[in-house]
Symmetry: C2
Subunit: 339 residues, 2 copies
């Protein structure tokens, strides 16, 4: 991207859980923003968002050819179908789109990037850079530094995913259902298909014929793409839990050569974007409430796998809205402008 002092940035899905976080992070990290142009659905029309001390109006996205005129970078987090429709216009008028939806992630010509892992892929873009699935990012942040020392051959992951992954309305549903449950009232389900208060259930994405749901398949396919290795065998089970934000995961990894728990600890302690939380004596390990609102993926419970020669077991927690989505997208934008 052509070097400038400041860039015109658009955010699509500006009122959503991820979009709001993108705007916050642009400000926090002092991204060199000239114009900030915000887009939302018809429902967001007339609203505004505070940015650098002023109110920025949210426009209705109309899928018109010129609504991204003059924009350098689009941070996009609407639904996948919305991205498919507006992205071609935005590219045509010269913007680079960093898209958080699943619309383009597996397209062979679209880089899928976690800046700590495969930053070199950013420069291969042809107008779109895809931001990976949140659970995949959080898992790979812990695996990639180890994978560089000894290739991962097999990964088995189970997730503990927060309500935030289904958006702001889902977080509200967790709160409302919890109050209603404690007050002995009947539970109303609007966002999730099942009660989320004091319950957990298999991830609410569609289940394919092989029994895996969309979220699980995203984690598998996107991880192979980001690590540039289709031979890594991966299996995942994705579960929604009654936590507001930040996803947790148990991860079992088999490596080509043994990595001791001690060695893994020293590798992860130095890895960017990771915070080691592995205090065995005090039974203090990663927790979603401590990952929430933070930029680092917390990693702990580092153990040699008792069931396998070259295996490690880990437990991680990362903010789904930040490193799992908005922060990763802004980091891609930073790399793009070379800041």
């Amino acid at each position: 991207m052509k070097k400038k002092d400041k860039y015109n940035v658009a955010v699509v899905g500006a009122k959503g859980a991820v979009g709001s976080e993108m705007i916050k992070i642009l400000e926090e990290r002092k991204f060199p923003v000239a114009e900030l142009r915000l887009f939302g659905s018809a429902r967001s029309k007339g609203t505004s968002v505070r940015f650098q001390g002023r109110d920025v109006a949210v426009r209705e996205l109309k899928f018109e050819p010129d609504e991204f005129q003059g924009i350098d970078i689009v941070l996009s987090s609407p639904g996948a179908s919305v991205s498919t429709k507006f992205v071609p216009h935005a590219i045509k008028t010269g913007a680079v789109v960093i898209d958080n939806t699943s619309a383009f992630r597996m397209h062979p010509k679209v880089p899928l990037v976690v800046p700590e892992i495969n930053p070199e892929d950013i420069k291969k873009h042809k107008g779109i850079i895809a931001n990976p699935n949140c659970s995949a990012i959080i898992m790979l942040m812990a695996i990639a530094p180890l994978h560089k020392k000894s290739p991962a051959k097999r990964i088995l992951c189970s997730t503990y995913q927060s309500a935030s992954g289904a958006g702001a309305k889902a977080m509200k549903e967790l709160e409302v259902q919890t109050r209603d449950f404690l007050d002995g009232k009947s539970i109303k389900k609007e966002v999730f298909p099942h009660q989320i208060a004091f319950n957990l259930f298999s991830h609410n994405s569609a289940v394919e014929e092989n029994g895996y749901n969309g979220e699980e398949l995203k984690m598998i396919q996107e991880s192979q793409k980001i690590l540039h290795d289709d031979s890594i065998r991966i299996v995942t089970t994705c579960v929604r839990v009654p936590v507001f934000r930040a996803h947790s995961e148990t991860i079992y990894i088999e490596f080509e050569r043994k990595i001791t728990a001690e060695k893994a600890r020293s590798i992860l302690a130095k890895a960017p974007g990771i915070k080691l939380v592995d205090d065995q004596k005090n039974n203090y390990f990663p927790m979603p409430i401590e990952a929430s609102g933070g930029n680092d993926v917390l990693v702990g419970r580092i153990r040699e796998d008792l069931s396998c020669k070259n295996g490690l077991a880990l437990f991680v927690a990362g903010d789904q809205l930040r490193k799992g989505a908005a922060l990763n997208a802004v980091q891609i934008a930073e790399a793009l402008v070379g800041s």
Copy 2:
């Protein structure tokens, strides 16, 4: 055990979460009880429990040589240290103790029994039959029927354990903390070391030098003992989640020979104590709220493991207080008296 019309039964820990459930289940399943003698700690003295339409007083357990005089069967669920102290007295006066604590589980001469899996071990008892760890029971209920068709070689499990596993006070703590959190009040921690409301954390049992906590090691060692196979390689990660009762688990199993998902479904559909909940079309799978209060372990998300040739992936939910503890103990008692 000598055949009688009715048996004198004692319950130790009668006011605890598991003990209360034992008494309920004795009544529900019409166990042939003559005298019901209830024991609790000094705190329980003067209280009583309703059983078959009358109030039975709870006595203080005093660790005296004759307090189990005349008792045929003791259902025991106090702390492990309490069991160690009272069990020798109870055996001496002729009772058979079915002990739910970890005190005797790994003793080579003590049978460790899940009646659906290894009922033949019951008759080897020398006065004590141990009731396994709740997470181990729930995991094995799903694995054992498959293991009979093709031996399991490796098991990788991640748990989603409810507050009930830490007793009635822990369940209350989840409720109180949740209310306080929603009301913006500060969170008080008494039972659990970390906030349980809208959070999750590594299981609160002591962590050993190899990084595994007590709960994880129990699941591993007890499973090998129950399946009579120390060569099965097992790894577990135990996590506490904000659910009141019923534990859930993701399980990956590698078998000696392939079992297809379809075959696994037909095996599990016929297995006693299991309810198949595997409706892919409606995204309807095991959930702790639906396992709570029930006797069956719910099993679903049955998939062929994409990362391994002869592997299956499962998701299970089972009531920790019932099949995970009290029901299993009463089932052992039933087998013992041949009812």
